[in-house]
Structures are given as C-alpha cells and as structure tokens.
Symmetry: C2
C-alpha cells in the first residue's frame, strides 16, 4: 500500500467512507501560493477551482495579519475591539446605503440561517422561494431547502423551488423580455401556491449569478421581476453572494449589481477571509435593530479580532492589486479563448459565466443536445492528471466549474486554455 | 466624547444597537496573554470568564501553529491532507470506542445542527428533549429550542423542555436517588407527551454539566436514568460538550465522563481551537457512514489545515502542561476558597461547579432564599472595575459564571478570592 493509500484508509476510518474527496485519484496537497497548489511529490497544480483563497493561496498580507493578530489578541466580540468596528465599516461601505449594517457569522450556512431568521421575523411569514437547483448551506433548514442534490430532509411545505432561466438551453426563439416574463411567472405561481396553502411569504433566497445552476447567461429583467412579485406578496429578497461576491464577476464587487435591484439582505461567506472562517449578513440597520430587540443573537467566533484582521487584509489586497479590474480583464480574455475552443471542439455546446467564474457546457451534437455528463467527468479527471484543478456543476453535471483565485493572470489563462484544448482532443 | 465613546457610537451604527457587550462600562481590549487581558490604557484584567482561549490567550504553541500553517496551505478538505486525518485520529482517541469518528464543523451551532440531523436520520423520529434553561446555538432550529432566553421563534411542537435537578435549591430532604427518580419522571412525561402527539423520539440534547442552568450539584444517576428513558423510546443521547469538554471539569477530558453513560453523539466547540473557529461532532462511525450515503455533508472551512493545526496544538498543550490535572487541583483550591467566603458573606447561598468551572449562588437570607439578582449584576460590574472579568448565569442570573483559561494557577485564584471578598464586603 502506498503512503497515499494508507492515508486514505486512515481517513475513511476516522472521517467516514463518504467524506467527500475530489477526483478519481485524490490530490494530496502540502503547499499553496498564489494560483498554485503543490502535492507531496512536489508537483504543481494550477488552481482553477478555488474561490475561497480569493486573493491567492497564502497571500502574505493576509497570513501576516492573521499571525500578528492571533499572537496579540483573539477574543469574542462582547468586549470592545477597534478592528471589528473598522472592518464592519469598511465592508458595509462597499455596499452603500441602504445596506449599512452587518452581523458577522463564521460560515455561509450561518449567514443564510440568520438571513432567514431576519426575513421571517420582519415579515411574519414563513414562505421561502429558492431555485430548483440550489444549495445554501448544511443546517437542517438549509438542507431541507437544498434542491441541487438529495438530502435526508424532505423539501419543506413552506417552500417552493422555481426553475431559473437558462437561455442557452431553452430560449426557443423568445426575446430576453419574453423569457424573463415566462420565468417570473414561475415565481408568481410559487407565491400563489404558498398563499393557497396559507403560507405567507418571508423571502426569495437566490444567488443572482446562479452558480450552482450552471452559470446560465443572464436574462435582463428576470431577477427584478421575480423580486418585485415576492415583495408585493410581503416577502424580502435575500441575495446569497457566498460565491458571486468579492469581485468574482468582474463587473462589480457584488454580484447583485449585475441587476438593478437592491437586496434586503445579502449573505457573504467563502472568500471573505481568504480561507479563514468568516462570513456575515449585510442588511439595513433598522432590520438588525428590531431583530436585536428580541433575538439576543451572538456568535462566539463571529468577527473575532483575528477574523476581522483577515477580512480587512482581504479588502486591502482586492483594492491594492486591483483584483476587480483583473477579474474583468482576465475573465474576458478566458472567455474569448473558450469561444475559440468552442469553434474547434464540437463537444462544447456553449461558453458560460463572466469575470473569473466561467464554464463550458459539454453536450453532444444530437437533436436534444444531450448533456455530455460522462465526458465532463472524464475531462475533470484528465485535467487533474495534466496538473489543472477544476470541477463541474449544473443540473446534468456537464458544465466545467472554473473559479480561480482572483490573482489569475493571462499566462495562467493560456495554460488553462491550451491544456483544455489538448485534453478535449484526447478525450 | 472620549475615544471609547466614539468607538461605541461607531459600533452601534454599523453592528446595531443591540449587538451584545459585557459590563455597564464595556472593556476595550487590545492584548491578551495567558490568563491576562489588557485594555487600551494598559490596564491588566484577570480573565476568569473565557473558556474559549482554553490553553491561555495567545499561547505561542497555538499561534505559531496557526501562523505556520496559514502561510503554507489553507484549503478545504476535499483534497487529501495529512493534518486533518492526524487531528481526527488524535481527537477521537481521547474518547475511545465506540466514539471513533468525527465530522468537523466551524461552530458549536453547526455541530448541534449536524447532531440533530444525524439523530433524526437514524431514529426516523423528530422529537427532541432539552433542559428548560438551555441554549445550544443560534440557527433557527436551535433558537427555537432555546429555553434560557426569549427568541422570536416559538418553542417547537416536536420538543419538550424538562427541569434539571438543582439539589441546592430543591432537595427538600430527598436522597440523591429520590431526586434522580423524581427528575427522571419529567423526562418520562416529556416522552409520553410527545408520543401522545404522535411525535417519535429523535434525541435528548443536554450538557451534562448543566452550565447554562447554573452549575447545579450533580445528582448521581439522573443523566443515566434520563438517557435510558429516551433510548427505550428510540431516541439518541446528544451530549453538548461545547462548554464542559476539553478538561474543563478537572475530572476527565470530557464532561460526560462524570456520568456512567456513553453518549451516542458528542458536540464540541468553543475551546477546540483556542479561539480559532473549529468545532465538531464525535460519534460512532456507523452513524457517520449511513448518514453519508444520503446526506452529502460538506463544510467548506471545517477542519481545513489551519484549523487542524490549531486543534492539534491545543491537544499538545493540554497534555504537555498537564492542564487536566491543573483544572482539578486549582479548581479544588478555588472551591475551598469560595466555601470560606460563603462562611463570611451571608449573600453567598452556595458554592457550585468543579474543575475550572465554578460559581457562587447569591441569594438573600429570607425564607425563600430570594435570588440576589440585582446584587449579582452589581458584583459582576464591581469585579470588572477591580480588574477581574467574569459574568453570571442561571435562571435568576444570580450565579457568578467563572470559567477561566485552563492555565489558571493558585496565585490567580488568590487574587480572585481576595478581590471577591472585598467586592462582596463593599457591595
């Protein structure tokens, strides 16, 4: 048994045989820097998957901030601490009014839990609308609401799941406005169905970038119409930016800026501390204050001084290294390259995403454009063997999920594109 | 406006006016070391409250481990990593069979959520029994189950809250066994009541040290009888060790060892990473594996390599510095001192707790032993002014909550005892 096989055996024994692992041959990582990860044999992998280390693996400005603050003071937030307040101010300033207050948590799950508590408290309703291919966290409530994979918890009677526009698959000659209207009708039907069951609306909870849904092209007006229907029924709009936030889309710091609607609540997570467990809820101060009168919310580790230092350092780097601009430029460069690959490889049905969150949909050239699910899996593993880490998403698991650290440059894009080209040729 | 008042104003504005703060005059902390915290004026405070920095504030072995690993690699656990497996093995070894597997999370809330999901999955039931003065987390489900303060969520119809034995208050001449039987009858009544409503048992979820309940003296046999009743009805025993674990009680590494019953699931949190957000669920591997077949549980930050490094370093220090023994010895020393204070100050109704988790109950000397709630609040603030940080708990908020870092020594105990003596004299 190899050393790695022995480690796998030990892992199964103590973490269980279903603790998830990527790739047919799991990668055993020992070191990371920028967009690079290194395994125990010293082999380098280009990281085209991980949005969590958003400013790059082990960015010294962030790791120094963590090391310095951890050695100085780490304590919960029921004592006054300057960094926590400074971070809260700096973070909310990137949103602007009316999103002027923050409640810190440690994970996206905790943020979405808190967002739903806030929405239910303020509306007095319990009804929730999610997309029919979504995931917002691993608590019992959020697992029940999960629609993109099976969970032991039944989908709740207080919730409805609606299909999200995917114009590349189902435009059928319709204009954007027709598509937006048609899909918004699903939201109206969901609201009506809940009301018919006596369930008052609390919130629509969506990621406006629809990452788990497979990065469909945006249909202008859809989110606005959907939110309007929910608001007319008394519900709030919770925008899950755990994936689309922090400059990921290249268009703006926050994914909801791709629409013209301002969320009532935004939830943040993964990239917020570049890997340090930090997350939060951004909303209007009045919502925080009214909830606070009765809810006594406290989160022991939430925005402790080390987390705040990590969060501040991440914002520093995004600004100093102009990572929003980089996300836009390199994202456009990658997309162009992917379009070229599409002209060459018939398996590529379309190119998706924007900024440093992009994908290609793999489908067969038959009348139904049958999803090339098995080929996509083979491609993900082939790319890993060729030293590039990525994954797949979407209803048919046939869309490459590529979401590299924001310090991804054109030379990395070139390596990705040429490796994809070869791997597709030899698939 | 002073600098601190200005900071408070800014804090209200961005974190909301109800974001909790300790003390009438909040402490503004800038540095910590061992059992000491320092404010912005350089004043030292003896920390007799914080169990999170269990091996002492900013212990260099832990902060070095965090700094080193953060600068080397921090990535989620879907790649193979040696430290995560080593930590899981080392941690479960402190439990021993049959508690041989772990699922990592970031917070105690996430751990208790996961524990309830596991229990409901395995039993097929939904019924939960908690104590009638408990708190297990801030998610919607756990907020609904909270019984020690008001939350916006109604107490669920699938749950029952049972009173916990508090012999110092309600022995009424009964033997331990009579008390245990009498209180276990509340658990039987809760099970019967749930079953009468068609609710099948999933779990009893308790902290066997009953910290939030005010550290009542242990009634031998009570937990064993309560768990037996729940198991006979098909439910599991979830032991919340977020407060009582990691050598806190001085008797054993884990609080449940104070009883003779082995939990089905143990939840861990606060002290696990000495302040780094790390928590988890310990249970039998078969429960993890069966759940894993259908539940696809994944936690992005849970036991990433930095968290694992922090967790391992905490276990190192607990062993090397013999903190379990220290907890036992210094705990006994403090308790003796508190008993002496009780003989001197009539306001002290009784002394509570064991190991480095102790309290005194303050009550008036009337026929009803009326809880001295206002005096306890004044005492907590007086101690803060005298440079000692502690808090209060219990149904009447009249029990001092003292839970210092495990490196608390007899000289610190002497300072605590003499300061308490003076503050009580001048109350």
């Amino acid at each position: 048994m190899s050393d790695t096989e022995a480690l796998l055996e030990r892992r199964y024994r103590v973490l269980g045989c279903h603790a998830p692992l990527f790739y047919d041959r799991p990668v055993r990582l020992v070191r990371g820097q920028g967009v690079w990860l290194y395994d125990d044999a010293g082999r380098a992998y280009l990281d085209v998957y991980n949005n969590v280390p958003c400013v790059g693996h082990c960015h010294p400005h962030v790791t120094d901030a963590i090391a310095r603050q951890a050695a100085t003071l780490n304590v919960h937030s029921r004592y006054l601490h300057d960094l926590v307040v400074s971070y809260a101010e700096r973070l909310t300033a990137t949103f602007g009014d009316p999103l002027n207050a923050v409640m810190f948590t440690c994970t996206g799950t905790e943020a979405n839990e808190l967002a739903l508590r806030l929405a239910r408290f303020h509306t007095g309703g319990r009804g929730v609308i999610v997309s029919d291919f979504s995931y917002h966290g691993n608590s019992e409530l959020l697992s029940a609401l999960t629609s993109c994979f099976e969970t032991p918890e039944p989908f709740p009677s207080f919730a409805r799941a609606v299909p999200i526009p995917d114009p590349a698959r189902d435009r059928q000659g319709r204009s954007d406005e027709e598509l937006a209207d048609a899909y918004a009708e699903h939201v109206r039907a969901a609201v009506n169905s809940l009301q018919a069951d006596g369930v008052q609306m609390a919130a629509i909870l969506i990621d406006t970038f629809f990452a788990n849904e497979g990065l469909p092209d945006r249909v202008p007006g859809y989110v606005e119409k959907a939110v309007e229907i929910v608001r007319q029924a008394g519900g709030l709009f919770i925008c899950d930016e755990v994936q689309s936030g922090f400059a990921r889309t290249g268009a703006a710091m926050w994914g909801h800026r791709l629409t013209s609607v301002t969320p009532d609540i935004v939830t943040l997570g993964k990239p917020m501390g570049n890997g340090h467990p930090l997350a939060g809820v951004i909303t209007r101060r009045e919502l925080v204050d009214k909830f606070g009168q009765v809810a006594n919310y406290f989160n022991t580790f939430g925005a402790n001084p080390v987390s705040a230092a990590a969060g501040l350092a991440v914002l520093d780097v995004i600004e100093r290294e102009q990572l929003l601009l980089n996300s836009k430029r390199v994202g456009a460069y990658v997309r162009e390259g992917l379009e070229r690959l599409k002209n060459k490889h018939s398996l590529i049905a379309n190119v998706r995403g924007q900024g440093l969150f992009f994908g290609i949909e793999l489908a067969h050239s038959d009348a139904n454009a049958t999803p090339a699910t098995a080929e996509t899996k083979r491609l993900v593993n082939a790319m890993r063997e060729r030293g590039i880490l990525l994954s797949r998403i979407g209803r048919y698991d046939n869309i490459l999920k590529m979401r590299p650290p924001l310090v991804f440059k054109t030379e990395h894009a070139d390596q990705l594109l040429s490796t994809l080209d070869h791997a597709l040729s030899e698939l």
